[in-house]
Amino acid sequence: MVENRPWLTFISHLTMILGILVVAFPIWVTFVASTHDTVRMTQVPLPLWPGHHFFDNLRQAMTKGAYGTGGIPIGRMLLNSLVMALMIAVGKIVISALSAFAIVYFRFPFRMGFFWMIFITLMLPVEVRIVPTFAVVADLGMLNSYWGLSIPLIASATATFMFRQTFLTIPDEMLEAARIDGAGPMRFFFDILLPMSRTNIAALFVIMFIYGWNQYLWPLLITTDNSMYTVVMSIKQMIEAGMMQPQWEMIMMTSLLAMIPPVLVVVTMQKLFVKGLTETEK
């Protein structure tokens, strides 16, 4: 809009600034809390300006961790989360790209039946099928392992559907040209389809990485070994630190650290991500 009304500019800026404050204030509080010692954090009012213990807290978090997690350093839990999130994101992309490839490019009996079966699973979130899933994972001996953390979350109707839509926009001539060039199905998949869905893969990776990273209920159920805890669920464990006072500065430091990887993923892949969601021209 090209308008020159000072009061309108003022109001729109005011709205935006208020919005930013609402979003940013909790993060600021988190940051401030992570820079004070335990004693200060038990006193009211809570501090609103940073203290001097940021690096002490960081060192303690990376080496000893907080009470509730049994002395497992945060670094270990960050690693667990990272491995889980990466396995989920990559696994989802691989599985759904392949199943979308089968559904779009191959003619086999009950093709649409399979598609609808996949589609219907959209209605069954993890929470609904959690008991049977747990039983399966336990029977397979995958409790307290990265496989157990990631495999049950890998199947994805959303990603399959997104890949299907992307593949459908790729003109048939592309397949025909590749066939005349002598490319077999897998060759076509890797040489033509995947590169052409690059932005779509990036967008899915961002969404799925964050989805994996933020998993709470599932890791809580299947990890009993402290060394397999993920960072997101550990925050909750820290608050319920038995008889102790919650170590707020540790909890906040952990939250801060837990926020960094998803932010990094979004920031580095933002350009591709937006392209993947909006691009229509092929």
Partner: protein
């Protein structure tokens, strides 16, 4: 290099629709054969069957004496140029042209030499070879698509309406380039188009298709001079041939005369007189549309007259050379000599 034969080719789709009703054609080695017809006549289906992109329901296709019905497109020794070019958008021009050779596991040096040679033939600069297809103009993309076909050194080229996405001027230019290229390389080519000018100018021989049948096979001038059916008569030539109902020996016939074979004359010499409805001056020619005056039927007549003709008089006497007239059976549409 190879000749291509189609023996009694039929195509029936799974839903029962019969797209091709038995086509028999022999395409000689090095010949430029054009398949022409209105949309939906089956010309693209026929081409795609030669390419191996559609299954042949019945009949035999041979390329260079080898039956190819069950062969994959890549094993048929053909190359195809698509209407929308079908260039791989994520590869640059060089990679696009080299992809087929790479799959065939040719040595890298040979791939480079072959692509370079074709790039020279098509006047593609080194700088253009590193560009992505989206950074090229329509004509350049067309050239790359042809390059991708040539680089494979196939024995048959297949063109599926390769010029229809270009603007009129470029189309004429590329048409000439394709023709020169084909003559230079001497590779058997099958070219599909709905544009009769393209068909007439490019073809050594052409197949005029209608509703899944080959109505006529012949050289462009043959087809023009002696259309086998009323469909061909109406399809080739612009404006279309005038077809006027007549009766001879009690048989219902159609009398055909091309608009360009009519000329104005004095009332006394006139073969017939038309009432002028519309005049389109084209500069070199004038198109006159009218209807027969007092004829058996109210038949429409078009005439292409030399120069700018003043035909606003309402009534225009016309005559023709009887040698240029055609006669067709009114019911079946077959030509009668």
């Amino acid at each position: 290099m190879a000749h291509v034969t189609l023996q009694n080719i039929r195509k029936t789709y799974p839903n029962g629709f019969e797209a091709i009703h038995g086509v028999d054609v022999e395409i000689a080695d090095g010949e430029f054969m054009v398949l022409v017809g209105p949309s939906g006549c089956g010309k693209s289906t026929l081409l795609r069957m030669i390419a191996g992109l559609e299954r042949v329901t019945e009949g035999t296709i041979t390329i260079g004496g080898r039956v190819v019905n069950e062969l994959e497109p890549a094993d048929r020794d053909i190359a195809m140029v698509f209407q929308n070019y079908a260039l791989y958008p994520h590869m640059n021009v060089f990679q696009n042209m080299a992809y087929g050779l790479k799959i065939r596991k040719l040595p890298k040096a040979e791939i480079e030499a072959r692509v370079k040679k074709v790039a020279d033939i098509l006047n593609l600069t080194d700088e253009q070879m590193t560009r992505k297809p989206r950074e090229l103009s329509g004509g350049q993309r067309q050239r790359v698509a042809m390059g991708r076909a040539i680089v494979r050194e196939p024995s048959v080229f297949l063109f599926d309406e390769p010029l229809s996405n270009l603007d009129a001027k470029l189309r004429v230019q590329m048409r000439i380039e394709i023709k020169q290229l084909q003559e230079r390389l001497g590779i058997t080519s099958v070219y599909v188009t709905h544009d009769q000018v393209e068909a007439m100018t490019l073809a050594q021989r052409m197949i005029v298709m209608n509703e899944g049948r080959a109505e006529q096979v012949g050289t462009p001038l043959d087809v023009y001079a002696k259309p086998a059916t009323t469909f061909v008569a109406g399809f080739i030539g612009s404006p279309a041939m005038n077809l006027i109902p007549e009766e001879r020996d009690g048989r219902k016939l159609l009398f055909g005369i091309r608009p360009e074979h009519l000329e104005p004359c004095a009332q006394a010499d006139a073969s017939f007189v038309i009432d002028v409805d519309l005049i389109e001056p084209l500069g070199a020619d004038t198109l006159v549309y009218g209807h027969l005056d007092g004829g058996a039927a109210d038949a429409r007549v078009a005439a292409r007259l030399h120069g700018s003709v003043d035909a606003r008089t309402g009534r225009l006497p016309l005559r023709y050379d009887p040698d240029k007239a055609h006669h067709f059976d009114a019911a079946g549409g077959q030509r009668i000599e």
